[in-house]
């Protein structure tokens, strides 16, 4: 039937005979008799959407997406074009992973639960914190959830949430929405040469602060150098120190637990997903003290009736389907399958590969900055800091013009100021570096 030009849903199986038998069983003449929709709200029109064969639909989507230009992306700021090994696609696409629901029946979901438990364990190792949930939507929403966590767990009252002034607009704005229903207010603290201005931060912190947020690396790709101090400032005010990062950076940079971070958020899909127009995976880890206030799903270990180890979603009384308006978050469907992919990619790399990938982010960024700095009309890096993966370059020409000209030559970089562009090496093939430098040389004139 799939091959012939049948009408109706190609995924609904009834034959005519079956439909007749079913209608008889439910004692109606037609399917329409099962719909008691009042006439005034009945829809008697059409959507005007044509049905298509599978082949036609594929061709349609290919043709639409074909309008996206082929560019070598030297873009970063939270999303990186690391190569995702084929293994990840093939295994994550197994329909048991792809098509199952949340593990409400753990007895037939052990495989997924174990994979998510392994994902949590990966984050625990990377952050040094004791608890990681098995996913939020992305870095921005994870940051928003961290703020509501801070409000719940902080012993004294308070309403100020401090974030760096360079915070990405998507994260800042999402955070604002998350705290809109609370008493919290988001304030920024200044940065100095891209990193937290520690003195200014010290001035800003008082007892009314519930949370201080910093990122490592920063949005400009620089390595934060005063994280312990940020932590001390936060803790001195009895506020939470929330740190933003990602699994690759965490493989090399200071371990969050070692600098006093109480919560780590970020986008974990830097591993496991290709750049997907911003689709992400919210990383969320925290200290054990906050266990009963964690948002999102947690997989824990238990035993089955034969005393064998078994995995299960746990501490569900935190969640919306049980706790309703007193839940720790409204999240239900999350990013479990992306977490699976990230865990797979990390396992593929292994600790050697993870550390190596992070190190190359440093050395390749340095090398490219050096080369751009040699170009007349360009200074790179702008910030006198260590860099991971990306850096800011100053151009004599207007940044927008430079970026637009680069795009014509097949390269994409960020505009981050009137005369500043941001360039990222993560995932950029070695053989595209020379052509990029050449193109940059041409357009920077």
């Amino acid at each position: 039937m799939n091959g012939s030009h049948a009408t109706g849903s190609p995924y609904a199986p009834h034959t005519d005979d079956e439909r007749a038998a079913m209608l008889e069983a439910v004692d109606v003449d037609t399917v329409d008799d099962l719909f008691d929709i009042p006439a005034d709200v009945r829809f008697d029109d059409e959507f005007g959407i044509d049905a298509r064969t599978e082949r036609e639909t594929r061709r349609l989507v290919r043709s639409i997406l074909g309008r996206n230009d082929d560019l070598t992306e030297l873009l970063g700021r939270g999303h990186y074009g690391y190569y995702v090994p084929s293994l990840v696609d093939h295994l994550a696409d197994r329909s048991e992973f792809l098509t199952s629901y949340t593990q409400y029946q753990p007895e037939v979901s052990q495989g997924f639960l174990q994979a998510l438990f392994e994902y949590q364990s990966l984050l625990v190792e990377l952050t040094g914190l004791e608890v990681a949930n098995c996913s939020m939507y992305d870095a921005a929403t994870a940051l928003g959830e961290a703020a509501t966590l801070a409000e719940r767990v902080r012993s004294t009252s308070g309403h100020r949430v401090l974030v760096p002034d360079l915070l990405l607009e998507g994260r800042h704005s999402t955070l604002e929405n998350y705290v809109a229903g609370t008493d919290l207010e988001v304030e920024t603290y200044p940065t100095d040469d891209a990193n937290a201005d520690l003195d200014a931060l010290a001035d800003a912190v008082d007892d009314d602060v519930v949370m201080v947020y910093a990122e490592n690396p920063t949005v400009r790709g620089t390595v934060e150098e005063g994280l312990e101090r940020v932590g001390d400032l936060a803790h001195g005010a009895d506020a939470l120190f929330v740190l933003g990062s990602d699994p690759v950076a965490l493989s090399l940079l200071q371990r969050p637990a070692d600098v006093g971070a109480d919560v780590v958020v970020g986008d974990a899909s830097v591993l496991g997903l290709p750049t997907s127009y911003g689709m992400g995976l919210g990383l969320f880890a925290c200290r054990e003290d906050y266990l009963r206030q964690v948002p999102g799903r947690l997989v824990g270990v238990s035993e089955d009736a034969t005393d064998r180890r078994a995995y299960t979603l746990t501490l569900q009384t935190r969640e919306q389907h049980i706790r309703r308006e007193r839940a720790t978050s409204n999240i239900c469907t999350n990013q479990a399958w992306v977490a699976l992919r990230t865990a797979m990619h990390a396992a593929y790399l292994g600790p050697d590969g993870m550390v190596d990938l992070a190190k190359r982010g440093v050395t390749r960024a340095e090398a490219l900055a050096d080369r751009l700095d040699d170009i007349v009309g360009v200074t790179a890096p702008v910030h006198d800091r260590h860099h991971v993966r990306e850096f800011v370059a100053r151009v004599d020409q207007p940044a927008k013009a430079v970026v637009s000209d680069l795009e014509k030559r097949g390269f994409a970089v960020h505009v981050v100021g009137e005369h500043e562009v941001q360039v990222c090496v993560a995932g950029v093939p070695d053989e595209r570096i020379d052509p990029f430098v050449d193109a940059f040389t041409e357009v920077a004139r």
């Binding site: 109706g8 995924y11 209608l23 439910v26 399917v31 329409d32 929709i37 709200v41 829809f43 959507f47 049905a51 064969t53 639909t57 639409i64 074909g66 996206n68 230009d69 560019l71 999303h79 074009g81 792809l98 098509t99 199952s100 629901y101 409400y104 753990p106 037939v108 979901s109 997924f112 994979a115 625990v124 190792e125 939507y137 929403t141 990405l168 998507g170 929405n177 998350y178 229903g181 150098e225 290709p274 127009y277 911003g278 947690l298 035993e303 089955d304 064998r308 180890r309 007193r326 839940a327 978050s329 409204n330 999240i331 469907t333 999350n334 990013q335 399958w337 292994g350 795009e407 994409a412």
Partner: protein
């Protein structure tokens, strides 16, 4: 059969802090990293084995009421895997016309299907869509100088996310009881509504599968006090092509694309929760949205171009970028494949299947006429035990113990993808379990990878990473 954890297969430690090869000063790096280091063949086996311990939609029927577990067409994976779908979110608009084009078309499709004037695709899941709805409502009321409205009304039998979302939005939740027939109690609604009402959140058909026949009156009542009517799209599959929230008087709604448009649930996500609104609310939608570029050139014959724009009174963002883009691609492909005919057929067969299945089982179904799902009662049996025992018959059980209006609820939604034979097999499983004694049920499941799992002890002493297993096992 037991698959060891990756950490039980290997643990390799990489030293960093004191290594000469580190490109950073020691005080800016961690000391070491300890993780499993396995070969590709070993990993392939690990994850293949794990996959074998999972029941998916390709394993058999999955009649989870309110979850709408449909078959996920394979080809939608192919289109989402197209190389051109993989673009960075900070690309210039001119260089991602394909992505914008697809989003524009999907906004349009969803608007038509829901009867809504404007759609945002940004919310990355249904609950995030609810949150957008509540935030839009708040912004609307505030814009109109009505920030005193601090209550959101939610029916008792609503999804838990409705309550949690309203609370996250800072609202007091007013719970609304059902009437005897299982629908909104109009008198109770009248009592609940006030000048403090920001919105009423409603699902239709409701969680009992019943159509809220008084919807026009409900809408009028809510609008009369200046409130907004929110549609929870979880059950939209029942109405495709037959009724539209916009026509029923709803002002704002979310779509669950993994429920209605067959995108895979991925064991917990990613989903997508686009939100549609009436014109009046469009200025408050999240930024950015996609629109056609006004044509100032003379080549009218060329393809339209698209751009991002911020609605005038936008609430800002609820996600770092454009939400779960790859999921949106799959949803678009599904709708483009089915078209009008397919969507109409889906709701027909979804409702027929639910009614047929209910007619074939011995458990009582107290509320009717239902649409795409029904809530049976396990009677004297414990519904959770019934579910565990159904696993032994090789089928996935329904959602249990909810909504609470039905004692020992078995909330069952077969969807349109099941054949009569599969429904008969499912009915046989229900009936076999219905005949069994409590002892058998409590001992279930017996034929699954893991036997009954002790949830209590998992929560009492949580062990949430392999680091906590090393000592005690």
């Amino acid at each position: 059969q037991y698959e060891p954890l990756l950490s039980e297969k290997d643990q390799t430690t990489v030293e960093i802090g004191d290594s000469d090869e580190s490109p950073l000063p020691d005080d800016l790096t961690r000391d070491s990293l300890e993780l499993p280091g396995l070969s590709e063949p070993e990993l392939a086996r690990h994850y293949t084995r794990l996959s074998q311990m999972i029941y998916g939609i390709d394993s058999g029927p999955y009649p989870l009421g309110s979850c709408t577990m449909k078959y996920n067409p394979k080809f939608t994976e192919d289109v989402a895997a197209l190389p051109k779908a993989a673009v960075h979110p900070d690309r210039s608009e001119t260089s991602v016309q394909g992505s914008l084009d697809l989003m524009y078309r999907l906004q349009d499709y969803l608007g038509r299907i829901g009867g809504m004037d404007a759609v945002t695709l940004q919310p990355p899941a249904g609950a995030a869509g609810e949150f957008v709805g509540i935030r839009v409502a708040a912004a609307y009321h505030e814009h109109n100088g009505e920030d005193h409205r601090d209550e959101v009304i939610v029916p008792e039998s609503a999804h838990g996310t409705n309550f949690a979302t309203a609370a996250l939005g800072g609202y007091d939740v007013v719970s609304l009881p059902s009437d005897e027939g299982g629908r909104v109690d109009l008198e109770a609604l009248e009592a609940a509504l006030s000048e403090n009402t920001a919105a009423l959140m409603l699902t239709n058909p409701n969680t009992l599968g019943l159509f809220e026949r008084d919807i026009s009156e409900i809408a009028e009542m809510v609008h009369d006090v200046g409130g907004l009517l929110y549609y929870d799209g979880a059950n939209l599959n029942a109405l495709l092509g037959r009724a539209r929230p916009g026509d029923m008087g709803f002002d704002v709604m979310h779509y669950n694309v993994h429920k209605t448009f067959a995108t895979p649930h991925g064991g917990g996500g990613p989903g997508a929760g686009p939100v549609g609104v009436v014109d009046e609310l469009a200025p408050f939608l999240p930024a950015p949205r996609v629109r056609e570029t006004e044509d100032d050139s003379e080549t009218a014959s060329s393809e339209p171009t698209y751009e991002l724009f911020d609605p005038d009174h936008t609430i800002g963002k609820v996600h770092g970028y454009q939400g779960n883009w790859l999921v949106l691609v799959k949803a678009f492909a599904y709708i483009a494949r089915l078209g009008d005919e397919g969507l109409l057929d889906a709701s027909a067969k979804a409702v027929l299947n639910a009614n047929y299945l209910a007619s074939q089982i011995s458990y009582d179904v107290p509320y009717e006429p239902f649409y795409h799902e029904f809530v049976a009662s396990a009677g004297d049996q414990d519904a959770a035990d019934v579910a565990k025992r159904m696993l032994d018959y090789g089928v996935h059980p329904p959602t249990t113990k909810w909504p609470e209006i039905v004692p020992e609820a078995l909330m069952t939604e077969p969807t349109e993808v099941e054949s009569k034979k599969t429904l008969d097999r499912l009915a046989a499983a229900f009936d076999a379990v219905a005949e069994e004694d409590d002892e058998t049920l409590e001992a279930a499941p017996e034929r699954t990878t893991a036997r009954r799992i002790d949830q209590t002890s998992a929560a009492r002493s949580p062990r949430l990473s392999w680091h906590e297993l090393a000592d005690d096992e």
